[in-house]
Symmetry: C2
Subunit: 319 residues, 2 copies
């Protein structure tokens, strides 16, 4: 492998994260620019290209110090075709040839993938995944994202919907509405949003809970509030966490039976609960998985935080 | 790739299937020997080696006409280590270094994998899978087996339990007992055995059904009987098929959301029902999957029958 730097980019709904990354995964320099959807993809691509040139100039790095660019974006993306099929959160892009556009604007070879997949790849390369050849990654945030490494490679899928693990159906009938248009998806239950929703359902049913005071005062509760209340023995909060870990434990065990991973990396805001989440999750997981499959698995909390995306994007650019 | 022949072997509970296969997947010659568990792995390996040498002599083929051997066996198998960790159906083998033993007995390089995985690989290479880079294969027989192709490769997993798709939990509570020691696995509902069990449950509950006469006369019904009764409008048989396709449709959709396949290959005895199975299965699948994921997928019936295993084993030996 050529020992050159690459540029990792993680396009999100509010900011675009960028980083200069060495061939062995060290971040030399990182910065952000706002995501401006008005003006369409061409404008955003121009913003990114200009910003990269500016930062290179500031750091006295030349064009030739970099081998290429990797980009993650939220949505359905084809690595092979270099096309963003659909990205609701960044101006509703449809069929945008992002590799070609950004390649023309920068002069670099550009490879693109879904952002959750690249976060998984980042954790695999430099984070808690520790280069496990078979790895599942879940990001429990506003939604639930996923990424799969198998046979030592990130899976790419047939048409940009690989590892949409938040959309596994976990409640076959009568589940909550999901943004995808269906009901009962994992992310309606196991995301921060789902946890809050379950807590509020309990409050509204009149259950006795310390969360009611928070809800009455602020008009809302957070997933963090739920974890804190559970730690103090609040029965509703405990029930919510029991429900979340049961649903998540079953969904993950069914994926583990397919992929036979040695690492399962849990990231996103909800993962800040640490062992308070992992311990009951592990117990539920073991209930639902084959004993031998379970014996291969270590659960770990993601370690790269917000850098996972740009590091995964850098890996994509290098390999 | 070297244009040599290879030897594909599929070790089953009652017979060992063997074939001489060309580098492009054509079977030159195939034959079977009985599976004799008494005498342990060493004896079985010797039987296989002797049989191969005999058939080579008969066909006037020399040792050097073959590049190597691929072997499938039922159980938990590590390709990388060449070890059969556990194989209940062939004499309860445990930690057998099959690659090494058969390599020493034959002089060939030997690669081994789980038999259901190799059946998937066979269908991928020369069968209904049609070289789809992303493919799920289900074998609906006495149990439910599976294999996964992703990024154009058979997945191998961390410790020999990859693609154990029959053991995905589909009934979280109160499911039937499974041979694996847990309850509610897919194969307790969607195998031929599961279909028969559901039909008999209905008969024993006193439901009016044409299957009762068959059951009373023979003391049993078959999955084929259930499909035939359903085709003639028998309500219980229709309900059983509705249940099976619902459970299977949900399980497959959850896997498709992970792998994003373009082909889903259904094989095994139950697949002989053809469109009577695939049509309702497709409808249920579409209910539970992302629209875009569903749009990429074609369901097909496996086309290689009992040859899938030896052809997949040959592919493994070649690549």
């Amino acid at each position: 492998m050529e020992q050159k730097n690459v540029i990792g980019i993680d396009i999100g709904g509010t900011t675009v994260k960028l980083a200069f990354v060495t061939y062995n995964g060290e971040i030399i320099h990182k910065w952000e620019i706002p995501t401006v959807s008005e003006g369409g993809p061409e404008k955003m691509v121009q913003d990114i290209a200009t910003s990269i040139a500016n930062e290179q100039r500031k750091l006295e790095l030349s064009f030739d110090d970099f081998k290429g660019i990797g980009v993650g974006a939220p949505g359905y993306i084809s690595l092979q075709e270099g096309i963003v099929y659909e990205a609701v959160n960044i101006g509703g892009w449809r069929d945008v040839p992002l590799s070609k556009l950004l390649g023309e604007a920068t002069g670099y070879n550009v490879r693109i993938e879904n952002d959750a997949n690249l976060a998984a790849l980042g954790e695999y390369w430099k984070g808690a995944g520790d280069k496990a050849d078979n790895l599942l990654a879940y990001t429990l945030g506003t939604g639930v994202g996923g990424g799969i490494i198998a046979n030592g490679e990130l899976l790419h899928g047939a048409n940009g919907t690989v590892a949409e693990l938040g959309h596994m159906t976990v409640i076959a009938e009568g589940g909550r509405n999901c943004n995808c248009g269906r009901t009962g998806c994992l992310e309606t239950e196991a995301s921060a949003t789902g946890i809050v929703r379950s807590a509020i359902d309990g409050i509204e049913k009149g259950r006795t809970t310390s969360l009611k005071a928070i809800y009455d005062e602020n008009g809302k509760v957070s997933a963090k509030d739920v974890f804190e209340a559970a730690a103090e023995g609040d029965k509703l909060a405990e029930d919510v966490l029991d429900h979340v870990t049961t649903v998540l434990g079953l969904a993950i065990s069914n994926m583990a039976i397919a992929i036979n991973p040695s690492k399962i990396v849990i990231g996103g805001g909800v993962s800040k609960a640490g062992d308070q989440l992992l311990d009951p999750l592990r117990t539920k997981f073991d209930t639902y998985t084959l004993q031998r499959t379970g014996a291969a698995v270590e659960f770990v909390i993601a370690s790269l935080g917000n850098d996972a995306g740009v590091i995964g994007a850098a890996y994509l650019a290098l390999h």
